[in-house]
């Protein structure tokens, strides 16, 4: 990999980041400048701004045939980074729209600015090729997210969630940083792509490499909420304002996966067999823990939190497969998962606005109260469960395919069994929505246009990814190939 010397065109590769920074600034200025009814304005500004950035990036930011390291080897401009950036931008735009009229957050400019900054951090995360850059990017992402989780100052749960998130994140970050420092120590280099050779040249023992890998994995596992570092997720998801939950569960998790994929494949090829086995076990445990603990939940946000944990497990299977197809399946899985989760949480937000509750039992009779909303929830939950013709089915299919291709049959079966458990609790929610009655059935649920837009976009995306998965798969494979 050559480190390209600086040319003005290199700036194009960081165009999204530049634009994001500009957008954050604009938001703050607009917030200061305008006086009244700012929530709507700010949200649409953010969303449209992000959409604009997506378009510009698609047009101008595409990487060339070769993957290049730029900015002195700090960043790598490749398809993987490109694909994930689009994904983050999309998730952020949806989150912005979903934040309209949410109490306590909607009319605060800082909220949107922090959202954009977190997106910036994720963008950098995914293209980082240097450990220091990576750590900075991770922190740039995490700190705004800690704040955003605890944004609703008056709400105890939110404050608790923010604090928990912060403490947990800081701890795991520290461990990961220690891992990074050891890696630097043993190789003398901070560039991810040179670490492996350097360690090999220095004949570092396998045990040591393994130890460093474990340390680093601590940080990554936290980010993707994989076992045994998933404990923060239910409390944080439950307490945070739901749009932020949406964002954390989708974009932040995807960012964590992106980093995991890039880092592990680039830095530890020497002990591939070992860390793959470790990840397989982690995946199995994560899936199982997530699914089993989801069953007794009564709060839908907590349930979706555990479900997110489980989905991290499913996605990990693709990485365990250790093939370009496997990595592609992870990316595909994340794409499908992001749109699905946004749709699911979108329904939760809407319901909470009108009915004021996040308890599953209160969803009774939703199908009569608001048939459209119930249908969206049906589509989202079925996609999470892995039913065709929705995205979740194809995503799981590809992930299991990758596992079978690489010979991880037992893991595929564990995945299968877990899918069943998942289906059980998703169906239970649907049962409540469609079967149970309540007295509130005649009270309609308000669905403002912005929310409708988000839900429609996501449902169409779920169906499109599920039925016509070819283009998305090609995209994912292209991205994966840039790691091999």
């Amino acid at each position: 990999m050559s480190i390209a010397s600086f040319e003005p065109t290199t700036l194009l590769s960081v165009l999204p980041e530049i634009l994001l920074l500009a957008l954050a600034a604009i938001i703050l200025v607009v917030d200061l400048a305008s006086k009244r009814s700012r929530g709507l304005l700010l949200a649409w500004l953010t969303a449209l701004g992000l959409t604009g950035i997506i378009i510009i990036t698609l047009l101008y930011g595409q990487p060339g045939e070769n993957d290049v390291l730029i900015f002195g080897g700090m960043l790598r401009h490749d398809w993987m980074a490109f694909a994930f950036k689009i994904l983050f931008l999309f998730a952020a735009a949806m989150t912005a729209l979903l934040s309209i009229d949410v109490e306590g957050v909607a009319d605060r400019g800082e909220y949107y600015a922090l959202l954009v900054v977190a997106t910036l951090g994720m963008s950098l995360m995914v293209s980082s090729a240097d450990m220091i850059m990576l750590f900075l990017a991770i922190e740039t992402t995490s700190i705004p997210l800690y704040v955003l989780a605890g944004f609703m100052k008056g709400d105890d749960k939110s404050t608790e969630s923010g604090l928990k998130y912060f403490l947990f994140g800081a701890l795991t970050s520290a461990v990961m940083l220690y891992g990074f420092s050891l890696l630097y120590g043993f190789s003398g280099d901070t560039n991810i792509y040179r670490l492996s050779e350097a360690m090999h040249a220095g004949a570092v023992s396998t045990w040591l490499i393994g130890g460093m890998a474990v340390l680093v994995l601590v940080g990554f596992s936290f980010k993707i909420s994989a076992a045994p570092f998933q404990f923060w997720a239910p409390d944080v998801y439950e307490g945070a304002p739901t749009p932020i939950t949406t964002f954390i569960s989708t974009a932040s998790k995807a960012a964590g996966f992106a980093v995991l994929l890039r880092f592990m494949l680039a830095v530890f090829p020497a002990i591939e067999a070992e860390w793959v086995t470790l990840l397989a076990i982690i995946a199995a445990v994560t899936m199982t823990v997530g699914n089993l603990l989801a069953i007794p939940q009564t709060n839908i946000k907590r349930l979706l939190a555990y479900s997110s944990i489980a989905h991290a497990g499913y996605a990990l299977i693709g990485l365990v497969a250790l093939s370009s197809f496997g990595t592609a399946s992870v990316i595909f899985y994340l794409i499908g998962y992001v749109v699905t989760n946004i749709a699911a949480f979108g329904v939760v937000i809407l319901f909470a606005r009108s009915a004021g509750s996040d308890e599953i039992v209160d969803y009774a009779g939703l199908s009569r109260r608001s048939p459209g909303l119930a249908l969206v929830l049906l589509v989202a939950l079925l996609s999470l469960g892995g039913m065709p013709p929705l995205a979740g089915f194809v995503a799981k299919f590809y992930v299991f395919a990758a596992a079978v291709e690489s010979g991880w049959i037992w893991l595929a079966f564990v995945g299968v069994l877990n899918a069943i458990i998942g289906l059980y609790y998703y169906m239970t929610i649907l049962k409540v929505v469609y079967l149970y009655r309540s007295e509130d059935e005649d009270k309609p649920i308000a669905i403002p246009r912005s929310y409708a837009l988000v839900l429609v976009i996501c449902v169409i995306a779920i169906l499109a990814i599920g039925t016509l998965s070819a283009p998305w798969l090609d995209w994912s494979i292209k991205s994966a190939l840039s790691l091999f």
């Binding site: 065709p388 299991f400 291709e405 299968v416 899918a419 469609y434 016509l468 070819a470 798969l473």
Partner: protein
């Protein structure tokens, strides 16, 4: 330009179903008429597909193929042959009659027909699939709507439990089969999910023997094979009438058919190796199912268990791996499908009026509903394998196949015929003849015209095949030959 008949058949239901969701919820009449229109279209097209199949040419006809995910060798590939053409027609018939007997559904008919049609598309899709991924895709689509249909519109006492049990059982079966399918895909090296490619791939004998149980039993769960059959009786009973008709009449055939298509046809060595076990389990189905049916007191449970028993015959036919057995199994899928749809329609009509299904509490319904009674008797005669009806036409070759394969099984299975005769006649006698209990006298409303049309169609088909088997037997036989060519068996 060739009209893509099969695709229209497959997608008509879901298009109508989704369109239904745009109707205002209260316009019940328009919803029903629209649903009936959709069912009619599907029926007419499936009749066309069935009767235009040219047996002289043979092979797959009405084939369509479009690239779907070329990177993985997945394509949208459909076609009919002798084995699945009758099943497509069966689905059309059951869908049409199912809509007719559901005319009275008052609680959210829009959602009901919508989900039912999504189910129908899944079923059609599985039958005509020539691509393994596509088969799985449509298979799952066929499984899930059952959950909502049973949980929302089913029998209050057990519906939630039955719906959940059914869905989980079927889902786990199909997922296990998927893993097997993936193994086949990768082992074949053909980089294609096309069933043709997988048929040609020569898997090693050990591979086939290892993976056959996963694939076959994964799908056969939906076929109701012992011991993973017990989702079926509860599911049948809890479901509303049209859903029971679909469930027993069509859905169980999806499972058996997929087991044949993916298990036996793609892993023939595995099939031969495991045939004795399959024969054994299916025999248990046939005999045990009949016994359990005979001790039930709930009218609908009798029919439910009798379905388990008859599906056992289908699986037995497949497991003989010879021409007679497979032909018989193919005909039995059709015959039993229509028969059980008829049974459940009748049960529904009785229950709607009597509000009980306990056999001791019923009686004398023949006088009040003579057409219903005759329809049930016809169904009963079919299930006994009485000559003159389709059941005989189907069961006879299965037995002939068993004689060539495992005579002892033939004898055991034949015993079940007597048991079946016993309980069927008992049910007929107790429910339709004898004294009508006080509370029903004068309160039994006659069935409406739609119900009558449905009963006549179903009974007529059973009778037609019974007296004129040429209308189905040669077609199925040609399909069976194609299967045998792959198995390379007797």
């Amino acid at each position: 330009m060739e009209v893509p008949i099969l695709s229209i058949v497959v997608f008509t239901p879901i298009v109508f179903g989704i369109a239904l969701f745009f109707f205002p919820a209260e316009r019940h009449r328009e919803i029903r008429i629209f649903a009936l229109a959709g069912a009619t279209v599907a029926l007419l097209l499936s009749l066309w597909a069935y009767f235009t199949y040219d047996q002289v040419i043979g092979g797959y006809q009405l084939v369509e193929r479009y690239s779907w995910v070329p990177r993985l060798g997945i394509s949208y590939h459909v076609g009919v042959d002798g084995m699945n053409a009758p099943l497509v027609l069966l689905t059309g018939i059951v869908m049409f009659t199912g809509v007719l007997v559901s005319w009275g559904i008052d609680d959210r008919p829009r959602e009901f027909f919508g989900f039912l049609f999504i189910l129908a598309t899944g079923v059609f899709g599985v039958f005509v699939s020539l691509d393994l991924f596509q088969l799985f895709f449509f298979y799952e689509i066929a499984v899930f709507p059952m959950y909502l249909l049973i949980a929302i519109w089913g029998w209050k006492v057990t519906r939630e439990y039955a719906a959940m049990k059914l869905t989980l059982y079927l889902f786990i079966g199909s997922l296990i089969a998927i893993v097997g399918g993936l193994a086949m895909y990768f082992a074949s090296g053909a980089h294609s999910f096309s069933l043709f490619a997988l048929e040609q791939a020569s898997f090693s004998v050990e591979f086939q023997r290892f993976w056959f149980p996963f694939v076959f039993f994964g799908f056969a769960v939906l076929g109701g094979i012992f011991p993973v059959h017990n989702w079926s009786p509860d599911g049948h009973v809890a479901a509303p009438t049209a859903v029971s008709m679909f469930h027993a009449g069509v859905l169980m055939k999806v499972g058996a058919f997929a087991a044949l298509r993916v298990g036996i046809m793609l892993l023939p060595e595995g099939a031969k190796f495991w045939a004795p076990l399959v024969l054994g389990l299916a025999t248990v189905n046939v005999v045990y199912g009949a016994f359990i049916a005979s001790i039930q007191t709930d009218f609908k449970y009798v029919i439910g268990f009798s379905s388990v028993s008859h599906m056992g015959l289908v699986i037995l036919g497949f497991a003989t791996l010879n021409l007679d057995g497979i032909t018989g199994a193919g005909i039995q899928m059709f015959s039993h499908g229509v028969m059980t749809a008829l049974f459940f329609a009748v049960v529904g009509m009785v229950y709607d009026r009597a509000h009980t299904r306990e056999i001791p509490k019923l009686g004398g319904f023949f006088k009040a509903m003579p057409l219903v009674g005759i329809a049930f008797i016809i169904g009963g005669l079919v299930s006994m394998g009485m000559p003159g009806f389709s059941g005989f036409i189907a069961e006879f070759p299965i037995f002939m196949g068993l004689w060539q394969s495992q005579p002892i099984v033939a004898i055991l299975a034949a015993i079940s015929i007597v048991i079946t005769a016993g309980y069927i006649m008992r049910v007929i006698g107790r429910v339709f003849f004898g004294e009508m209990p006080e509370e029903f006298i004068g309160n039994i409303t006659p069935i409406n015209n739609f119900d009558k049309i449905a009963l006549v169609i179903l009974s007529g088909v059973l009778l037609l095949i019974g007296v004129y088997p040429t209308i189905i037997a040669p077609l199925v036989e040609s399909g069976a030959r194609a299967v045998l060519a792959l198995v390379g068996g007797a």
